[in-house]
């Protein structure tokens, strides 16, 4: 690209439009890998907790969930630092980062509150109120975050997947009265998140 090339008005407009479009695609496509990373982690953790809970019968295996952000956050920082050759951020990537960061903070806070509350105020009522409702709360938060991502990315598949995961997960939980099997709702959510990353990479190719 030369700085002194004489351009016509049409060439200038074409250059603006092409450059903006390519840059926007590159930035959004790049964010796809974070969806894949967190999606794979969510799938693996949900299957692991399901397996341990199912085989031992101990609900306490759910505490393993707290290791998810402890592993995922450094991994995504590492992936970000690996982008040594180029980095840029636009409105879509910033909003998506914000949506999922907020989801993470809310999910961890709700889970932590639930665990601490049940430790200090142990009663059958606590178990019923907090123990039973934690999974649907988190799956609903997940569904909302996924749907909003679909709105920012202007992708109907992602919007619908978010709705199905959030509302469907909630419905399955209450209708089926599941035990360890409720972890499979998060496995589905993990697959949805991974698929979102792959859709983003494909859509903005």
């Amino acid at each position: 690209m030369e700085q002194n090339k004489e351009m016509t008005a049409q060439e200038s407009l074409n250059l603006i439009s092409e450059t903006m479009n390519n840059s926007r695609k590159e930035i959004v496509r790049n964010s796809g890998k974070y969806f894949v990373l967190w999606g794979v982690l969510l799938t693996v953790f949900s299957l692991l907790v399901y397996f341990l809970w199912k085989t031992t019968g101990k609900v306490a295996w759910n505490n393993l969930w707290f290791a998810l952000p402890l592993i995922g956050y450094p991994l995504s920082r590492w992936a970000k630092n690996k982008e040594k050759d180029s980095r840029a951020e636009n409105f879509i990537s910033r909003i998506n980062g914000g949506i999922w960061g907020t989801f993470g903070v809310f999910a961890c806070s709700v889970a932590l509150f639930s665990v601490l509350y049940s430790q200090f105020f142990d009663s059958p009522l606590t178990t019923i109120v907090l123990g039973v409702t934690l999974s649907p709360q988190i799956v609903l938060l997940f569904g909302m975050a996924e749907t909003i991502s679909g709105i920012t990315l202007k992708n109907w598949t992602i919007k619908i997947a978010g709705w199905i995961t959030g509302i469907g997960g909630l419905a399955i939980f209450y209708i089926a009265q599941v035990g360890a099997e409720q972890m499979l709702i998060f496995t589905f959510a993990g697959i949805v998140l991974t698929a979102t990353g792959l859709i983003v990479k494909h859509q903005y190719k």
């Binding site: 690209m1 700085q3 090339k5 008005a9 450059t19 903006m20 590159e26 180029s86 980095r87 840029a88």
Partner: protein, 96 residues
């Protein structure tokens, strides 16, 4: 009478840099280099011109141990870019 095209923006490389920054919150020097295909020296010179004009700001920092130069468009730069696009449209509509 056609509006005069901003000479700072009416250059292929500077316009490409401004187009990228107009659609992004911020961008690394290396990202701009990759997107424009310009050489480091040429890009540095053009970024300096845009900075002097007050169209962009340049922030030098570190990412780990690696130096990192981040560019952002300023409100004045956004205004100039908008005016430039409007002027281009006027030229084109008059020619059509």
């Amino acid at each position: 009478m056609f509006p005069k095209l901003d000479p700072i923006l009416h250059s292929e490389l500077r316009l490409a840099v401004m187009s990228i920054l107009a659609g992004a919150d911020e961008a690394d020097f290396t990202y701009l280099k990759k997107q424009t295909g310009a050489t480091s020296g040429n890009l540095s010179v053009q970024i300096d011109k845009l900075t002097t004009a007050g169209y962009i700001t340049v922030e030098k920092g570190f990412k780990g141990k690696m130096p990192r130069t981040t560019c952002k468009i300023t409100p004045a730069g956004q205004e100039a870019f908008r005016n430039y696009v409007e002027a281009l449209k006027e030229y084109l509509s008059a020619g059509a």
